[in-house]
């Protein structure tokens, strides 16, 4: 079945799910954590009938210190690099048990949550394997806070150009991170899976409907979700949602879908907010010089326009 044909009920402000969250309050995430906000929104959108797999990382550590757990859905954590492989095992087990009449007939999505390091660096092999194998009820969510925050703000391949981290420090001979952010959505899409999307918690209904679509799709889905980290980004906690909005309106993090290989740009940004508005609220960029910002602006526009052109090539697809 094509992703574009997957049937799901879209959430609207009027149908926003009520009742307790499947991620309980009382977890130990930092004040203003945008990652746990994104996670909670997606779990709200999914309800309770799914199985969660977490990679080691902030979300695992802050939600599950024995003997407490914030997870009101079945949840397993094994290690750092293997969330996709663990989820593959869970998903395959459910298929086998259903076929052998030892599990209910109902489809149960298996959702792996991992950070950017657990996805784009140490976990990319396991993820690629899982996507290539086309597991039917498999969703992988990368919660991207753009560095190894759990271990103390070390750079990952998702750390943006110019960002100061503890292993990409700015200095007399360095501008901070000297490479461009790895494009995981494109890498996921290259596996020929039915559904890939990017999302931001500032656009909460868009994000929630994307994971609902991911759950309806038969075949692997990959969501790359922007996850503001006030602690790691040296940003005021109250600016988390603001940064999650600015990253989209500046064109730095376009939100789009790839449905059966066809691109849909969900928020077209014709008059972008100046990127300085995004960069200046985060201490990790404070060392950047005007020429560095010019370079970033140029590359951001180039990347955004590439997505825009891809979306223009597939005008008929319907986005979330």
């Amino acid at each position: 079945m094509r992703a574009a044909e997957a049937q799901y009920v879209k959430l609207t402000p009027k149908t926003f799910p009520k009742g307790p969250d499947s991620l309980a309050s009382g977890h130990r995430a930092c004040q203003g954590c945008g990652e746990v906000l994104a996670l909670r929104l997606m779990m709200k959108a999914l309800g309770t009938d799914f199985i969660a797999v977490s990679a080691t990382g902030c979300m695992e550590v802050c939600t599950a210190p024995f003997p407490q757990s914030a997870w009101r859905v079945p949840w397993i954590h094994v290690a750092f690099e293997n969330a996709a492989a663990v989820a593959s095992g869970v998903e395959s087990a459910l298929h086998a048990l259903r076929r052998k009449k030892r599990a209910p007939e109902k489809r149960i999505p298996v959702v792996a949550f991992a950070g950017d390091g657990g996805t784009a660096d140490i976990g990319i092999q396991a993820l690629s394997g899982a996507l290539e194998r086309q597991h039917e009820d498999f969703i992988y969510v990368c919660l991207d806070n753009e560095a190894y925050m759990n271990t103390g703000i070390q750079r990952s391949s998702e750390t943006p150009f110019g960002a100061n981290t503890t292993t990409s420090p700015s200095g007399t001979k360095s501008k901070g991170q000297n490479t461009w952010k790895k494009n995981m959505a494109a890498i996921a899409a290259a596996h020929g899976i039915p559904y890939v999307a990017t999302g931001s918690p500032a656009y909460h209904l868009d994000l929630m409907n994307k994971i609902r679509r991911a759950a309806a799709v038969h075949g692997p889905a990959y969501l790359h979700v922007y996850a503001p980290c006030p602690t790691g980004w040296r940003m005021k906690p109250e600016l988390s949602v603001e940064s999650a909005k600015l990253v989209v309106t500046t064109r730095i993090f376009p939100i789009y879908e790839v449905l059966d290989g066809e691109y849909v740009l969900n928020r077209k940004i014709d008059n972008p907010t100046p990127i300085e508005d995004y960069l200046k609220i985060q201490g990790r960029f404070k060392h950047l010089k005007p020429e560095d910002i010019d370079y970033i602006r140029g590359r951001v526009n180039q990347e955004y326009e590439r997505i825009e052109r891809l979306a223009a090539a597939f005008p008929v697809s319907a986005g979330a």
Partner: protein, 390 residues
């Protein structure tokens, strides 16, 4: 009726996983394990085994997928060797603490470097302390039987631990042997469907794999050790149930002409058959020598070993692995530690041989017997390499 068939031992191991109605296989090919997983994928492809076969992209993912599948309540099997086991290592240490009865067949092969595809026990020794139950098979029949037993023991609610079933790479895995193939109904009777203690279930959500802070980590590790140690009577009981059902008798420590023997050779795995032939020849020549073979490597069968080793004058422990930087091999370390407090303990000498597939011959065992008799323990004594170039 069970029937005797000529079959490659690897194929027999895969057939055992079929007889056990395995639900999920997640495996990555590595020599000399390949024939096990090839045959399993054939069984699935032809509908002889109703399982999900996950062709993972690495051994790390193989064990990860097995953990996920077992946590979801599926009977789960995988197989590996050497470098594959090394790559799995991180996950191997997690499975026992999560109490997941995965069965892992290991076609034992030497670890790199230098790269070598042939047999020794260096791979299994890397997971010695991980919390898995560990069984060794000597021949094809044992490989099949031990695989069935691995599921039965691991899934016992008093145990709920993963099990490794070890066969020597090539020297056992690739041999064609006569195998008494049990009827599927008999195996299903011996091994009813697994009832997990807990599982990932949307009807009763639980969290598996929580963070163990300094306040809980020790207790979690100790709990696993307690269960592993307490699994030995279940192993013995399962061997007895197996005998009642299939007629073949197994013990956690096997012996051959050991009673009253002055010198005992102590082995694990398929070289034991060569050792027995050598013992027959030595016995004919008037030598008082016997064999002790460890079938159950973990939990370590202390009481059973003490019972058979103590009456002897000399014990020659044979290791298939060099424990770099220490005086003894891993099996000798265990045996010496076991005997330390025993009064009138035998002389324990240690020999390392058969590394990276080097042939182990009857003459090697004759040489070891001679050296064991000459051996006078001293604090500076080290293992002796047998059959090595000078």
């Amino acid at each position: 009726m069970a029937k005797l068939v000529g079959m490659e031992v690897s194929v027999a191991v895969a057939e055992a996983a079929r007889l056990c109605d395995t639900d999920v296989v997640a495996a990555y090919p590595i020599t000399p394990q390949t024939h096990i997983v090839e045959h399993l994928s054939e069984l699935v492809a032809n509908g002889h085994l109703d399982a999900e076969y996950i062709p993972v992209e690495s051994e790390q993912s193989a064990m990860s997928s097995c953990i996920g599948a077992a946590a979801a309540g599926a009977r789960t099997f995988t197989a590996t060797s050497s470098q594959g086991l090394a790559l799995m290592n991180e996950m191997v240490f997690i499975a026992p603490v999560l109490r997941l009865p995965i069965v892992l067949a290991i076609a034992n092969r030497a670890l790199s470097a230098p790269i070598n595809i042939w047999n020794d026990h260096s791979d299994i020794m890397t997971i010695r302390d991980s919390g898995w139950i560990s069984l060794f098979a000597e021949n094809g029949q044992e490989a099949l039987d031990m695989t069935i037993l691995s599921f039965r023991i691991g899934e016992d609610p008093r145990v709920s631990l993963p099990v490794t079933m070890n066969i020597d790479g090539f020297t056992l895995s690739h041999f064609i042997e006569p195998i008494d193939m049990p009827e599927i109904e008999a195996v299903r009777k011996f091994l009813p469907p697994w009832k997990p203690l807990v599982q990932l279930d949307i009807g009763a959500p639980i969290s598996i794999g929580l963070l163990g802070t300094p306040e809980s980590y020790t207790e979690a590790r100790k709990a696993t050790d307690n269960v592993l140690v307490a699994s030995k009577p279940v192993v013995v009981e399962s061997f007895e149930a197996f005998k009642a059902q299939f007629g073949r008798e197994y013990k956690v420590v096997e012996t051959y002409k050991a009673e009253g023997a002055e010198t005992l050779l102590l082995t694990m795995g398929s070289i034991s058959e060569t050792a027995m032939t050598a013992i027959d020849e030595m016995r004919e020549a008037g030598e008082s020598v016997g064999l002790v073979r460890i079938r159950l490597w973990r939990p370590f069968p202390s009481e059973e070993l003490l019972k058979v080793l103590l009456p002897a004058k000399n014990v020659a422990v044979i290791d298939r692995h060099i424990m770099m930087g220490t005086p003894d091999g891993p099996v000798a370390v265990e045996v010496k530690s076991l005997l330390y407090d025993a009064p009138n303990r035998p002389n324990v000498s240690n020999f390392v041989l058969g590394l990276g597939g080097r042939d182990v011959t009857r003459d090697d065992f004759k040489y070891i017997t001679k050296r064991a008799k000459e051996f006078k323990g001293s604090p500076s004594a080290r293992y002796e390499l047998v059959g090595v170039w000078e």
